[in-house]
């Protein structure tokens, strides 16, 4: 087992990894920018190294600085958390080649799944359904319309070089296709300097269902159930839950086994998440695979009773998984709300000093945070203040527990998204489980 781990991250996830390390008797090294000198993750680590000035590019994304910090502290392994360098294949490569174990999958897996087209191909080869679409770029309108007819409307025309919701056009019926196709190409050229577009089947009310998996060095790969992350605004998740109301035992096994098949086919190691889109008829399609621990991993931990970060560390140290597939059970229901320092209506960031901080407690309530009274939220990084997670026997009880906890969560001095979460949790459709990725549109946040 490792004697010392460096956490190449900040905020609540850095603290999360420090928790796991401390409980395993592993010494911890925190790295921080000058802006984070008074952070909790710095305070609670055994050692800390300042790696640069506030900007991420000069600190948390500064590979030489982080590797140097690992060298001067005799670090044995590096946990990248999520975001920053977590899915940076060359960072993983550099870690491993300088004798520091990267706690995550291999650089090859990261590279492969980071390429959306290759990831799709991998899923298809593993026998997993992918969202039907043109196989590659379509340049001629005449072939485009043929493909669209074959897929069946509605379809979406997407920029190949695009992302973040830009360069996309939804076409509901054939009459509007020609115009939309030309417009999408023009938009793609303007936004990305590249007019290449491809076509995909468009799902009207999709649900975002993802499968958590983990694999050890011997190739033992298990799935730990699903998470539903349909409550999103501009592709940013707000509320996540496990299990999903529309996934029963049979579907869970089916999707889980498909996720495992994808992982096995590329000899995937450590933790990962396979994301699916599900249509109104319960048909699901592979979207992408995330080769890291995710923000919302706690809801899976609450329903399965398994500490995912500890498993990541164990696996990286060469130990076998703590459990077999049949030992994994999903018990009760868990919901997570991401509480950000943002205006609850406009979602604009609201950095500043937290003057009062009182997190909720009680049975089945878990708060993951690096905030405290008098903490100054720096403007350089994400606006997350805390993750509020609840667990209860049923979904209805989990909702009540979350509402009670949101009421008791006092954060003053900055604006927070708690009022928005209260609205979501008391929404009748949410309570019925009648949700999709379009849910947040009712609160004036249109998703393109």
């Amino acid at each position: 087992m490792f004697k010392k781990i460096l956490i190449a991250n900040r905020g609540e996830i850095a603290l999360r990894v420090i928790h796991a390390c401390k409980e395993m008797g592993i010494k911890t090294v925190a790295v921080h920018s000058t802006a984070d000198a008074n952070s909790l993750h710095v305070r609670f680590a055994d050692q800390s190294v300042c790696i640069g000035p506030p900007k991420s590019a000069d600190s948390y994304l500064n590979v030489p600085s982080i590797i140097s910090a690992a060298e001067i502290t005799d670090t044995e392994a590096i946990h990248p958390g999520y975001g920053f360098l977590a899915e940076n294949a060359s960072f993983a490569e550099i870690c491993n080649s300088t004798g520091m174990r990267f706690i995550g999958p291999s650089p090859e897996s990261i590279k492969l799944m980071g390429d959306k087209a290759k990831a799709r191909e991998t899923a298809q080869k593993a026998g997993v359904p992918v969202l039907p679409g043109s196989n590659g770029v379509v340049t001629e309108e005449s072939s485009a319309i043929e493909i669209a007819r074959e897929l069946g409307f509605p379809v979406i025309v997407k920029a190949a070089a695009g992302g973040g919701g830009k360069g996309m056009r939804v076409v509901m019926e054939e009459a509007g296709f020609a115009n939309a196709f030309v417009m999408a190409q023009a938009e793609a050229l303007a936004a990305f300097g590249n007019a290449d577009v491809y076509i995909e089947k468009y799902i009207l009310q999709p649900r975002h269902i993802e499968i958590q998996l983990i694999a050890d060095e011997k190739g033992n790969t298990v799935y730990l159930g699903e998470r539903e992350c349909s409550i999103q605004r501009r592709h940013q998740k707000l509320v996540e839950e496990a299990p999903s109301v529309i996934v029963d035992g049979g579907l869970r096994r089916q999707m889980g086994e498909m996720a495992v098949a994808i992982a096995r086919s590329v000899r995937y190691r450590n933790a990962g998440t396979v994301e699916f889109l599900m249509d109104e008829n319960g048909k699901f399609y592979f979207m992408e695979m995330n080769t890291r621990i995710q923000v919302e991993h706690p809801v899976t931990e609450m329903v399965t009773g398994i500490d995912l970060v500890k498993e990541q560390i164990r696996v990286a140290a060469g130990l076998p998984l703590s459990m077999t597939q049949d030992q994994i059970r999903v018990k009760g229901h868990s919901i997570e709300c991401r509480i950000n320092a943002e205006d609850p209506e406009k979602f604009t960031p609201s950095p500043g000093t937290i003057t009062a901080f009182n997190p909720p407690g009680g049975l089945g309530v878990r708060v993951e945070t690096a905030a405290y009274t008098q903490y100054v939220i720096p403007p350089y990084y994400d606006s997350m203040i805390a993750k509020l997670i609840v667990h209860a026997d049923t979904r209805d009880e989990a909702i009540m527990r979350m509402q009670r906890s949101l009421d008791e969560f006092i954060i003053e001095g900055v604006k927070t998204t708690i009022p928005m979460h209260k609205k979501i949790l008391s929404d009748p459709d949410f309570q019925k489980g009648d949700i999709s990725t379009k849910f947040m549109e009712r609160y004036g946040n249109p998703v393109k």
Partner: protein
């Protein structure tokens, strides 16, 4: 830590502007806080600064070194040269060569003051000002972090 060491620590703290010091060694932890009243008026929120920011990190140095290194330049026009990178501090280009600079040496802008080794690369750290070396704050072979004070220079 015995009573004698503890007394020495307290005495040493008296002469610095460190207000709170926390030390943890295997099985032993002490926090020393300077100042009069122990109670705080309920209306005032307590400001707690994590001790890790005060003590030079990553260095298994004796507390004495840490306290000395935290001394602020005594004159306001003195300049502290801080490390621009993370690495290991060396006073000369190789073990058998003399140090680049010693206390009371006069240096000019652009002159190499030391080497910081990072990822097997030797980085020469140049002075941003001309003047006299008043203090050398780090020892040969010590690890340094970004912003770590290395030298105090009195500008010409």
């Amino acid at each position: 830590m015995n009573l004698k060491e503890l007394k020495e620590l307290i005495e040493m703290l008296r002469n610095t502007d460190i207000s709170e010091l926390e030390i943890e060694r295997s099985g032993f932890k002490v926090r020393i806080r300077k100042g009069g009243d122990v109670t705080f008026p309920p209306s005032m929120p307590r400001m707690e600064y994590p001790p890790a920011a005060i003590i030079a990190p990553a260095v298994p140095a004796a507390p004495a070194t840490a306290a000395e290194n935290a001394v602020e330049p005594s004159r306001t026009n003195q300049i502290r040269v801080t490390s621009p990178i993370v690495g290991t501090f060396y006073r000369s280009s190789s073990p058998d060569k003399p140090s680049y600079v010693e206390v009371s040496d006069v240096v000019i802008k652009g002159q190499v003051l030391c080497i910081i080794e990072a990822m097997k690369l030797m980085n020469e750290i140049e002075s941003e000002s001309s003047g006299k070396i008043v203090q050398v704050l780090m020892e040969n072979g010590q690890p340094v972090e970004y912003g770590q004070p290395l030298f105090v220079i009195e500008p010409a």
